[in-house]
Amino acid sequence: MIEGALWRKWVYFYVPLILFLIFLLFPFYWMMITTFRPDGELYRPWNAWNYTPFWTWNPTWAHIEYLFRETIFGTWLWNTMFIATISTMISLVCGVFAGYALSRLKFPFAGGLGTGIFVTYLVPQTLLFIPLADIIRDYRLGDTPWALILTYPTFLIPFCTWLMMGYFKAIPKELEECARIDGASRWKAMIYIILPVAVPGILSAGIFAFTLSWNVFIYALVFLSSPQEKTVPVGVVSELIRGDVFFWGPLMAGALLGSIPVAVVYSFFVEHYVSGLTGSVKG
């Protein structure tokens, strides 16, 4: 906190903070206001006398109704949830075990392997989808949720592994040594001691992985074609932009409703999530 006169606090702290918040929250506000604004206001010319871009006097549910009545938004939402949950779980299990092994077990090339896994995370999805498309076709997985459930881990596992490696390294190795002297095998020491201690880290990795897979666009666009298999990001864009006509109201309603589950997950785990980022185990 800045010490001194009140005006210094305002100039150096509150004003920049407020500007930053406006900058950060404006897109969300825009998304929300567009969702509830009637079409008549949305497509009003900018120089009309009653043009009010930042608020509305006639909020409406019409766009949300349209979304659920005229498109299969509910199905997309369910698809996205299902795919994100399963692929997050797969990646979390693999990432936790791999991260534990890479940070705790001594074996040849452990360091190089850790770096190698991280490098695979850096391969851009826009390149990787080309060979993956081949594989998906060969295994006849195209246009099924499994196309995404099995391809998302290609970037989620390296991500989780890397995050968990760092977290495991921060746990004092004496905890595990003590457990092993106390009579636990390496496996039991991991299950009873290390994993419970690592719960904040596991939750952080899970939330990040869930958000990442919720938002994936390119894989979902390439591997899915029928409308009833699509995820929210792809479904909304492909069904609500027809030619050069943007259905702004339903588009924004879809974006708003699509971000609610992520927001719920975040706020639900926020306690653990924050402690996972800031603290680990000391003495």
């Binding site: 003590c178 106390d182 636990a184 419970p196 185990v281 003495g283």
Partner: protein, 363 residues
Amino acid sequence: MAQVSIRQVNKKYDDFHAVKDVNLEIHDKEFLVLVGPSGCGKTTTLRMVAGLESITSGEILIGNTVVNELPPMDRDIAMVFQNYALYPHMSVFDNMAFGLKMRKFDKAEIAQRVKDAADILGIEQLLARKPRQLSGGQRQRVALGRAIVRHPQVFLFDEPLSNLDAKLRVQMRVELKKLHNRLGTTAIYVTHDQVEAMTLGDRVVVMKDGWVQQVGDPLELYNAPANRFVAGFIGSPAMNFAAVAVSERDGALWAENSGMRIKVPAAIAARMNSHRGRNATLGIRPEDIHLATPADPSDVCFDAVVEVVEQLGSEVLLDIKVGSDTMAAAVEPTLRAKIQEQLRLALNPARLHFFDAETETAI
């Protein structure tokens, strides 16, 4: 209860030889302390006994069993770590019960043992708390409790008091001693603090650079250090050393340098024949130097200039300049010395130590 034998044990990391040819016999019920500066191999030795480090060569026996290949859980030992290593997600009770649960003791037995240990350590009222709600001293007690509930054959302590503040450390030291007297379990204790080593150990092992320097009971190390390193490491304030030339005159050996000329007592002189006409290192503890009185023969006296005066109450610690050497002397608290004052001091010839100038071993 059991004895521990460490036979010709070596530990090599890729390019670092951490422990070299260590041979130790720890008797049943003995409290053995490994002491030395950091990096001397004492912790590595302890961890090899625990089974947390592999043994490069040699063998370790607990009881009469060679344990080289046994995993830690099968060695029937308990270890207390410097950072306590309490399981942060478990209550104090569960921390102490963990080892017993892993070994499938029944519930009543576990509750009884934890209660007994908690009684001994005075932590009954803390059993429901989590480690983060405890003070440093309480955590240390829980760590001890976790070790004693198991009734292991051997206790291993890895600098357990280093994280405590000075006052608590003294208190816990006394309690550890009492605990050992009460339980009688064989214990190996690693520390870098020579005061802990002297006060706790039945025997003390001094290590440096992976080598065992000397093994003996505390007074043996204090009175008859095997080499210059042990002499300097054991005792506080540390022993003074001065390079001297040894020469023979009037049928006696004399140790001389720029500030003093001391007659070597006959008992030591008999061992110093081969050092005649050569250099040696003279060692004298600060507490063996006193203000010269007429009763002191002139061949144990020397002149010194006071550089620093430290009043400790029970004694006065003087930093003095003797010729070109700086020394410390612990003298009577009644002495009112001033800085730059010239004093005539005497040393106790029976307490002189001599070390070979090259090998640094005691003569």
